[in-house]
Each structure stands twice: as structure tokens, then as C-alpha cells.
């Protein structure tokens, strides 16, 4: 099978083209020696199946950034038949160097000039034929966004492969990668002879938007307002959908599953329904929010606003060892930590990405918010409720700050902050949909296994031995609660709350329900019982611990898969547990010492 590598600079529409060419067949490939996910897909090329590999976006082949290293390693170790180079027509004057670098490697290549429409609007005309002659590489203008020229580009690729039947060995390429320097001059010559630039580039719309959105004083408030509105949209639109899913799963359970499984032994029935089914529906209830989140995110990401938010926040973030983009991810974490962690992929430097990923689980996500609203309503009068909730958000910010300050030296990033500011673009609905769908698929395949196993384990812990009342202190979970008592007593968390914390480890969504199971009560009776059992100091300590100790199994799984390091996952877990305990301890003992 022929192998084609897709290569280009960041912000050239490379992923859009990949999605367009690969359709739904893309999957994450496993390449020896390469630590990042490379997507690949089987495509039809000149009547044969070929493998298309999407390499990370890069500025040149010199190999100083992580992404550049990945591409060099790939080209030097895996045989390829063709390189599809994709460049931005509107910036061809500086991007052509990449094509020349590839040509210097001697690999058959086809050059695709993307964003034809954008270049036209800017008044740039490119003589593709003349450029092809000068370069000695087939050149074709396309619009990956709208699909123009894509079938022709594939034909061109198939022809080029036929004309070069002998593969260039990876060893040859590896050798040539070592000596790739004298390209500048030739680039200037070709540009001068083949490209006509208007005297003044048409930046006007982007410029006018930037004047407002990047205003020294208005820029930040406007940005925060847009983020707030996006969250508002995600949750306003997502909550009814989530409720709808919950309703659907409840009805499916009572109408179909419970009657169907009634004849099974009680333990198997409980395991299947309360264990597996609960786990599955917990994951599924996440889906509408995740879908919306990624639809909105891919829109924001492709629009060019993210780089501008980075510009606005960079000064403050730099003091924490992070950069502007990290701030955007943290804000996302207030919705849900999982997609925020995935979003850190935009960072090129690994230490900075890890430091950002370490802070994200401390963002007060919507699932934790649900627990807090429940507890606050029980333990605090309405006049204090808003203040208590606000203070929890402040604690969330403070823990992020403390974490970044403490770990910034360990994850010191030497990467300079030089970022391209692309013009504003409006992604097509199809583009948004394809991007969002890829992410959702990724999330589901991973989260399903993890949450289902976790839920089954918690069910077993709270139902064994069979002689004990479910979720009572006599169960294994109760024993674990007693085992942790020496640690949890000093922070005011009793056995019942400790069991809820075990549930909360799987997903915070289960905490409220688990309290109902633990006390065997519902509604007002449950509230009265909890209010009778714990005072506000204990409740606050419980909330602080819940806020910090660990987000949920999905987040932990995502931490591991995104960092590709179990060690990092354990570090994050251990750090948040330790921080949670220390803060709860200080609060609980401090409040008690003050006589509360």
C-alpha cells in the first residue's frame, strides 16, 4: 500500500483538508518512536487504497520544537511514497520555504496552495503553472474549506506516485535532513518571478475587529464576556439535552430493563442495573455537553480568536509560568475538565502543556457545582448561599495559582512566546461538525471503558459482603471509610461522607445520589438528616475536599492519555489529594479553633 504524508504549516487548513480527504475513516495510528497521536486514514488514490498520514503542523524542518522533531523522526524512519505539502496562498511569500525543504529531501511531492479564496480577497494572484515549472513539483490551488480542487489534487498525487515508482529510503531522507540550509535565496527568486502582491494587503476587516477586540482596556472585558456567553450557551442548550438523556435512560430502565432482568438473581440484577447501566448512562449523559462544547470550541479555535485571547492574558499568565493559551483552557475547565485537557493540544511545548494540565483539574467544573449547590442549600441560609459559592470559585482560582507557582520550575518551559495571529476566519458548519465529531468519538471510546469499570467496582464495594446492608458501614466501602478515618477525622469528614467521596472519585454526578443511598432517604428527609448529622464547618470542609481532591475518573483517564505518562497522572492525583487535605485541614481545624 502506498503511503502519503500530509505536511504543512500551522493555520493553513491542513486538518480541514485531512478531514475532507479522509471522511469518517480516520483513526489514531501507532507509530514506533513517536509519542504524539498521528491520525491516519485509508483513502482511494488513483484506483488504489493508500494510507494518508496527518503530520503535525510545523514552520520548517529544522527540528527545534516538539512537532518538528516528530516530523523529522517520522520522515527519517517510515517509508513514504509522496508528501502532500499544504501552504497558505495568502502567505506564500514566507511559506514556500517548507516546499523547498521537502524538495531538497528528494521525496516525490505535490504542493497544494490552500485558501485560494482568502488570497483572492487579499488581491494575491499566483501563477501555479509557472511556480510548478520553477519548483519542479506539481502545484495545485485548492480550497480545503469548500472542497474546490480537492479531487484534482488527489489525481495529481496519484500521477506523481506513478511517475516515481521507486521509494526514497528513510535513511536517505534522514541523511538529507541533516543538511538543509541554503534555501532562502531560491525562495526569493521564485516568489519574485511567480507571485504578484498588491501594494497594500487587504487586512481591513481583521484590522477593524482587532481594533475593538484587542483594545488595551476593552479587550479583556470583551473576551471574558464572550467566554461567559459561550458557557451560557453551552449550558443553556446542553442542560435540557442532558435532562432529556437522563429521562430517556430512566425510562429505558423502568420500562424495558427492569422487567427484562427481574428474573435474574438479585446480586446480578443489581450489578447490571445499578453498576453497569448506571455507569453507562453516566457517560452517556455527558455526551450532549461534550458535543456542544466541541462544536463551540472548534468554532472558536478556527476563528483565530484564541490566539488573540492569548495576547490579552499573556502578561498575567507569564507570572505563573504559563502563557495566554493556558488561561483559555482553564476557563474551559470551569465547564468540564475533560475537553479542557484535550484542548491543551494547541500547546507546542510539552513542559508548558503539562503545567497547564496540572492546573486544569482544579477548575470548579459543572459537576462539582451540582454537589455544592446541594450541600449549600442544606447547610447555609439563602442570604449566605451566593457568598459561599463565590468563595469556592475563589478557592478554585487560588489553588490553580498555588499549583502553577509551585510547579513552574519543575515544568519550566524555555519556549519563547512568539505566536502567529491568523486573520479572523469563519469556519463552515461542515468543518465545525467534522471536528466536533472526531473529538466526541475519541472521548466516548476512552471514557466508556473507564467509567463502566469504575462504577462496577464502587457498586461491589458498597454491596459486599452480601450480608451487609448496601452502602452501610458494614460493607467493604464502610471498612475503607473506617480505614481512612484517621486521615479524614481531622478534616471533619465522617464515615457516611467518606463513602460519598469514594463515589465522587468516579464522577461528581454520583455524589448527591450516593448520599441518598447512604442515608436511605430522599428529598426533604435527606436534607434534614444531613443537617442533623453535620454542621456547616464539616460541610464546608467536605466541599473544599470535594473541590480539590480529584475531578473524576474521566479526567484522570484523560490526564493519562493526553500526557502519555502514568507518572504524570499519579503526580496530578497525589498533588490534588495532598492539597485538598491540607486546605480542608487548615479550614476545619482553624474554624474549630476559632470556636465555630
Amino acid at each position: 500500500m502506498k503511503r502519503v504524508a500530509l505536511l504543512g504549516m500551522p493555520n493553513t487548513g491542513k486538518s480541514t483538508l485531512f478531514n475532507r480527504l479522509s471522511g469518517a475513516s480516520a483513526r489514531v495510528g501507532n507509530w514506533p518512536g513517536i509519542t504524539v497521536d498521528l491520525m491516519s486514514a485509508k483513502i482511494l488514490l488513483g484506483g488504489h487504497i493508500a494510507e494518508l498520514v496527518d503530520l503535525p503542523g510545523l514552520y520548517d524542518l529544522h527540528g527545534f520544537s516538539d512537532d518538528e522533531q516528530v516530523v523529522r523522526h517520522f520522515l527519517g524512519h517510515h517509508a513514504i511514497d509522496l508528501v502532500l505539502i499544504i501552504l497558505n496562498s495568502a502567505q506564500i511569500d514566507r511559506q514556500l520555504s517548507l516546499a523547498l525543504q521537502i524538495r531538497a529531501l528528494g521525496v516525490p511531492a505535490v504542493l497544494l496552495l490552500n485558501m485560494e479564496d482568502e488570497a483572492k480577497r487579499a488581491g494575491i494572484t499566483i501563477d501555479a503553472q509557472a511556480m510548478s515549472k520553477q519548483l519542479g513539483i506539481p502545484v495545485r490551488t485548492i480550497s480545503a474549506k469548500y472542497g474546490q480542487g480537492c479531487p484534482e489534487a488527489l489525481q495529481l498525487a496519484a500521477q506523481t506516485i506513478l511517475q516515481h515508482p521507486n521509494q526514497v529510503t528513510p535513511e536517505t531522507i534522514a541523511g538529507k535532513l541533516e543538511m538543509d540550509n541554503v534555501i532562502e535565496q531560491e525562495m526569493h527568486q521564485i516568489i519574485d518571478r511567480t507571485v504578484h502582491f498588491p501594494l497594500q494587503l487587504n487586512h481591513s476587516l481583521t484590522d477593524r475587529l482587532d481594533k475593538v477586540l484587542l483594545h488595551p482596556w476593552l479587550g479583556l472585558p470583551l473576551f471574558l464576556l464572550s467566554v461567559f456567553l459561550l458557557f451560557q450557551f453551552i449550558f443553556t442548550a446542553g442542560t435540557p439535552l442532558q435532562d432529556g438523556m437522563a429521562w430517556l435512560f430512566d425510562n429505558l430502565r423502568s420500562a424495558a430493563l427492569e422487567p427484562a432482568l427481574a428474573s435474574l438473581p438479585a446480586w446480578l440484577n443489581g450489578l447490571l442495573l445499578d453498576g453497569l447501566y448506571t455507569g453507562f448512562s453516566t457517560v452517556a449523559a455527558f455526551v450532549p455537553i461534550i458535543v456542544l462544547f466541541f462544536l463551540v470550541m472548534s468554532m472558536v479555535e478556527d476563528s483565530g480568536y484564541l490566539s488573540r485571547a492569548a495576547f490579552l492574558m499573556d502578561t498575567l499568565m507569564a507570572k505563573m509560568g504559563l502563557d495566554g493559551r493556558g488561561f483559555v483552557m482553564m476557563l474551559m475547565g470551569f465547564g468540564c475538565n475533560v475537553p479542557a485537557l484535550m484542548g491543551t493540544r494547541v500547546m507546542r511545548s510539552r513542559p508548558m502543556r503539562l503545567l497547564t494540565m496540572l492546573t486544569i483539574p482544579l477548575s470548579l467544573c459543572s459537576a462539582r457545582l451540582q454537589v455544592f449547590l446541594f450541600i449549600i442549600a442544606i447547610l447555609f441560609p439563602p442570604s449566605q448561599a451566593a457568598l459561599v459559592l463565590f468563595s469556592l470559585y475563589m478557592v478554585s482560582f487560588a489553588t490553580i495559582f498555588i499549583t502553577a507557582m509551585l510547579f513552574k520550575d519543575k515544568f519550566a518551559s524555555r519556549e519563547p512566546f512568539v505566536l502567529e495571529l491568523p486573520p479572523y476566519r469563519f469556519p463552515t458548519p461542515q468543518q465545525i461538525w467534522m471536528r466536533g465529531w472526531q473529538e466526541v468519538k475519541h472521548f466516548l471510546s476512552r471514557a466508556t471503558k473507564f467509567i463502566v469499570i469504575g462504577v462496577v467496582m464502587v457498586w461491589l464495594l458498597t454491596h459486599l459482603p452480601t450480608t451487609a446492608v448496601p452502602a452501610s458501614p458494614e460493607t467493604w466501602a464502610g471498612s475503607i471509610g473506617r480505614f481512612f478515618a484517621p486521615v479524614l477525622d481531622p478534616i471533619g469528614i465522617d464515615t457516611e461522607l467518606a463513602i460519598a467521596l469514594i463515589f465522587g472519585f468516579v464522577a461528581k454526578e454520583i455524589v448527591v445520589g450516593s448520599l441518598a443511598v447512604i442515608y436511605g432517604l430522599q428529598g426533604d428527609a435527606l436534607s434534614h438528616q444531613i443537617a442533623a448529622n453535620i454542621d456547616w464547618v464539616q460541610g464546608m470542609s467536605f466541599m473544599l475536599f470535594t473541590l480539590i481532591y480529584t475531578p473524576c475518573l474521566s479526567t484522570i483517564a484523560t490526564l493519562k492519555s493526553e500526557s502519555k505518562s502514568s507518572g504524570f497522572m499519579w503526580l496530578s492525583l497525589a498533588w490534588s489529594l495532598a492539597l485538598a487535605w491540607v486546605i480542608s485541614f487548615l479550614f476545619y481545624q482553624g474554624a474549630r479553633a476559632l470556636g465555630y
Binding site: 520548517d60 520544537s65 502567505q91 520555504s97 487579499a122 488595551p216 490579552l312 499573556d314 519563547p416
Partner: protein, 83 residues
């Protein structure tokens, strides 16, 4: 004069780039080359990064990294740029 001294609205010519290799390469790839003209469009609040335009490309760069770029004034409007 270095890029970090240029004020919003001012333009100058790149004299040379003096940075460690990785940053030099990155700047080259973004279009920063000796003899090219650049313009500072704006600066973020609290002494934040610069928004620089070079050719058809807009770039944001921290002041610290902007120090690496040595400039000389435009030939025809020397008086508008402090040395």
C-alpha cells in the same frame, strides 16, 4: 535599537536577529529576515506582548523575545523613531 523599544504605530527595518538557534529559526520561519520592514500595531496592557506586522503576517511576541531583534530606522522617516 531593539524591537522591544518600538512603540505602537512605529515601523523599522530588521538589522539582524540575535537569539538562540531555536528562536532564530522560528522567527525566520515567521518571516523575520534582515532587511525586512516591520511595524508594531499595538501592545497588550500591563507591558504585555507586542502585536507586530511583517509583510502579510501578524505575529505576537513577548518583549523579552523582541529584544533579540535588532532594528535600524526607515531610510525616509528617521525622525519618527527614537534611536
Amino acid at each position: 535599537m531593539h524591537l522591544d523599544a518600538l512603540k505602537p504605530g512605529q515601523a523599522a527595518i530588521i538589522d539582524r536577529i540575535h537569539a538562540e538557534q531555536a528562536l532564530t529559526q522560528r522567527l525566520h520561519a515567521l518571516g523575520f529576515r534582515t532587511g525586512k520592514q516591520l511595524e508594531v500595531i499595538r501592545q497588550a496592557a500591563f507591558n504585555g506582548p507586542l502585536h507586530v506586522r511583517i509583510g502579510s503576517t501578524d505575529v505576537i511576541i513577548r518583549l523579552q523575545d523582541a529584544k533579540a531583534i535588532h532594528l535600524h530606522p526607515l531610510p525616509n522617516q528617521t525622525e519618527s523613531i527614537p534611536a
